[in-house]
């Protein structure tokens, strides 16, 4: 390989056919004179612009498009040299760091010698060692293209905002499960909003036996083993639900506050009394109707109860997870859109309440297709305010445009699976932790289950990894109509 050109932080390297370099590979450009090296990542592989190539191609097809038949008597065997030159490729690389005295720094301000520099592939293990990506609490993500294991440090997810995205059936949920299970094994508390009920069986192996995570997986199904006792509810939590999930107008909310306080003063806070109070409250008929319709929505959700004993499951699970690590799976499958929002509003409010009271350390929240249950204003809340309470979110989506641009800008880690759609790639490329060219060029060519890992987990060295298999019952597969036929 030979250094050809450098423009900004893009470096072009001439590579010959016997040097197999692919997109995503890292190269070490070593200048012994300067005692420094550049670490660059290949983001595109192009044909080298060799003069005379067009003539070569044209003359091989002169006969009406059919290749002309013939033989070459080439006693000096020049032809291999010709193909060697013809097949030379140009590696477009992004400079990621400078290596000097075994220390990495992001500087790209120096220029290595074009004639004296030596260029070689930098194996991923060597890079991760230099970058110290798997220091204390390693999480094995999978294998890189050169079959070396890639591990990230669980602490690099701590306090971070993460996004897992990619088109359908590329392995997003699989990675999300891998991350959350590994976090639980480091005694972290994980909460998952499980939209499709695919996390419920993570405590089982593929053949239906209990696995190491079995005792750490706590599945909460709203209105079944997960309910909220009205007595234990804070007014502001219920108001959040009424206003944001059930769209209660401001005037009606004001009346509801009065009703609630009145019942609380009389220690009559239960579902029946709440209904009666709304019925008999002196207020505008429209307000009463509005309150009644919301009241019935709450009742119909089945999520609220007067029995305090029925509502202890969440806290119990959270405290158990706090002690030993565990995942609280909020099963939102078979839950209507409104009920989903009620549950999520309640859950987030409850978490904030427990975190504020220091009853929980911090939690890792995994939200699948969050746009289906998270209200607009919560996005900023999660990224900014809730972060300070100790809720560290990982968004999982196959529709990157459902996540706002400011979320991408603030994301600390992005796990990017294949996207072919230009628009999707454009959205993801707005992430602050990586350049758009890298995202667009590498993500487009990722095979299924290969993930481009960006951000702090890889110390800003984007790495492609094939996510390792999990021996858990994932239940995320699509239910097929013609399954039996095949």
């Amino acid at each position: 390989m030979k250094l050809y050109k450098k423009e900004g932080n893009v470096i072009q390297i001439l590579s010959f056919p016997n040097e197999t370099v692919e997109k995503g590979d890292y190269l070490l450009i070593e200048d012994t004179e300067a005692a420094k090296s550049l670490i660059a990542q290949v983001i595109d592989v192009q044909f080298a612009s060799i003069p005379g190539i067009l003539e070569e191609l044209l003359r091989s097809l002169p006969d009406g498009g059919q290749p002309i038949q013939g033989e070459d008597f080439d006693p000096l065997e020049i032809a291999p040299h010709i193909t060697y030159i013809q097949d030379a490729s140009l590696l477009v690389c992004k400079i990621r760091a400078t290596l000097e005295n075994d220390n990495l720094n992001p500087s790209t301000s120096w220029l290595p010698s074009r004639s004296q520099s030596t260029i070689q592939k930098l194996p991923i293990p060597a890079l991760t060692k230099l970058a110290k990506t798997d220091e204390k609490l390693p999480i094995q993500l999978g294998v890189t293209k050169d079959n070396s294991l890639l591990a990230i440090d669980a602490s690099s997810l701590d306090g971070r905002l993460n996004i897992i995205t990619g088109k359908k059936e590329t392995g997003k949920s699989h990675l999300s499960k891998l991350l959350m299970l590994n976090l639980t094994s480091y005694k972290a508390t994980v909460v998952v909003f499980d939209l499709n009920g695919e996390y419920q069986s993570l405590g089982m192996t593929q053949d239906g036996k209990r696995n190491a995570y079995h005792d750490k997986i706590h599945v909460l199904t709203p209105s079944q083993n997960f309910k909220a006792a009205l007595k234990q509810l804070n007014l502001h939590v219920l108001l959040e639900i009424l206003i944001h999930a059930l769209h209660l107008p401001g005037t009606s909310a004001r009346e509801f506050r009065r009703i609630w306080r009145s019942l609380k003063e009389r220690d009559m806070l239960n579902l029946h009394e709440l209904g009666e109070a709304i019925r008999n409250w002196h207020c505008n008929q429209h307000v009463r109707d509005a309150l009644f319709s919301r009241y019935h929505a709450l009742i119909n959700s089945g999520f609220f109860t007067d029995n305090v004993a029925e509502s202890t499951m969440l806290e119990e699970s959270l405290f158990r997870a706090k002690e030993h690590g565990g995942a609280i799976i909020v099963n939102l499958r078979n839950t209507s859109s409104i009920d989903r929002q009620i549950v999520v509003e309640y859950m987030l409010a409850k978490l904030v309440e427990l975190l504020t009271a220091n009853r929980l350390k911090a939690i890792f929240l995994f939200a699948e297709e969050a746009h289906l249950y998270l209200r607009e204003t919560y996005w900023d809340d999660i990224v900014t305010r809730m972060r300070h309470f100790g809720i560290f979110t990982t968004f999982v989506t196959n529709q990157p445009d459902t996540i706002r641009e400011n979320i991408y800008r603030q994301a600390d880690n992005i796990f990017l699976f294949n996207f072919t759609n230009e628009h999707d790639l454009e959205v993801v490329s707005r992430a602050a932790r990586v350049d758009a060219e890298t995202v667009k060029s590498i993500a487009r060519d990722l095979p299924p289950h290969y993930c481009l890992t960006l951000g702090k987990v890889v110390r800003d060295f984007p790495m492609v990894v094939k996510v390792k298999a999990l021996d858990v019952k994932t239940m995320g597969e699509t239910r097929l109509f013609f399954k039996d036929i095949n």
Binding site: G52, P62, G70, F73, I78
Partner: protein, 353 residues
């Protein structure tokens, strides 16, 4: 010194009859090529002979009455030869040159080719004389040694040697065909001895083939105009016959010269046809060419392909430089262009000085 021997199978691979042919030229060329790349041939002084000039006195007459051509439908093999040469690098002691030749033939509506080369030679002042003499003795069958060309002339001379051999091969292997040469049927020049040209044409006639030589460029003029610029108001295809052209000895014309305008458009070429073939057969040969080959811009496709296939592309030049450096450890010298160096953007380069 051990010279690597290569097993060479050339004419056997043609898709047409295989008479006994002389296949030794490529073998010897390969040996010489390797020899020049691996060591320097000792200097042996030799008396230089004065080269004979190729002077064309203005005696040419052009018959304004065209010979109208009617395409003659008779399946005939059309074959063509061309060679190419290039100086692709300089070393501290000389130059690196490459030659390549191509035979192309059209048979049963399909084009086929056989390419020879690239053969690379490292020519120095020390080895050029011996190299050239060895080739001349072996292949041109010359009794009088021609003067040794300058270093700059060597690529053309070696390519000519290869071309003459390829032409000879075609005449020996093709029967009842049309053989197209690039250039003219003039001989007596340093690289085209009279005997060789005579032998080549005789062999072609013996195999009932007609040799047609197309010149892309000519200096022949009639009434002050280049003969190829004269376009009488007739609809092509036609030929204009010339007469009266004489050369100073030893230059000898083995063909009669025509101006061939085979398609519509402003393209016409000097066409030399073996003068030993009787005139009706000459016309018939061109008429058969019209139907057995694609004629575009008055030029036969077979000859065009031969040219295209042997021409060196920039990519091949780089590959040959790579070969010379990697395989034979020759150090290529990048000499500065003094014109560019002295005059900057006003210097147009050595070639156009």
């Amino acid at each position: 010194m051990v010279i690597q021997q290569h097993t060479i199978a050339t004419t056997q691979k043609y898709n047409f009859p295989h008479p006994t042919t002389d296949t030794t030229l490529p073998q010897r060329l390969v040996q010489l090529s390797l020899q020049t790349l691996t060591h320097t041939i000792p200097n042996t002084p030799i008396q230089l002979n004065q080269q004979v000039g190729n002077i064309e006195p203005n005696t040419l007459q052009l018959n304004p009455q065209p010979i109208m051509l009617k395409p003659k439908y008779e399946p005939t093999i059309v074959a063509a030869v061309d060679t190419s040469n290039i100086k692709f690098a300089e070393t501290a002691t000389g130059i690196l040159i490459a030659v390549r030749g191509a035979n192309v033939w059209k048979q049963n509506h399909n084009y086929h080719y056989m390419r020879f080369g690239p053969l690379i030679f490292h020519i120095t002042e020390e080895n050029k004389k011996q190299l050239y003499e060895t080739m001349q003795k072996a292949y041109l069958n010359t009794l009088h040694l021609q003067s040794t060309p300058t270093l700059q002339q060597m690529p053309t001379r070696i390519a000519n040697l290869l071309e003459k051999w390829l032409q000879n091969m075609l005449t020996k292997t093709i029967t009842n065909g049309l053989i197209l040469f690039d250039g003219s049927l003039t001989s007596g020049t340093p690289d085209t001895p009279i005997t060789l040209m005579r032998e080549t044409l005789q062999t072609a006639r013996k195999h009932a083939s007609a040799v047609l030589a197309f010149s892309k460029m000519t200096t022949l003029r009639f009434n002050g105009h280049l003969i190829t610029d004269i376009h009488p108001e007739y609809s092509p295809p036609y030929m204009l016959e010339t007469t009266g052209l004489r050369f100073k000895p030893p230059i000898t014309l083995f063909g009669d010269i025509y101006v061939a305008r085979l398609t519509k458009g402003n393209y016409a070429f000097r066409l030399d046809i073996d003068k030993e073939i009787n005139p009706p057969q000459r016309i018939q040969a061109v008429e058969k060419l019209l139907t057995n080959d694609i004629i575009s811009q008055s030029y036969p496709e077979t000859l065009r392909l031969a040219h295209i296939l042997c021409t060196f592309t920039a990519n091949e030049v780089i590959a040959m430089q790579h070969f010379a450096q990697r395989k034979h450890g020759l150090k290529i010298v990048n000499r500065p262009d003094m014109h560019r160096l002295l005059f900057g953007s006003f210097g147009k380069g050595e070639q156009s000085a």
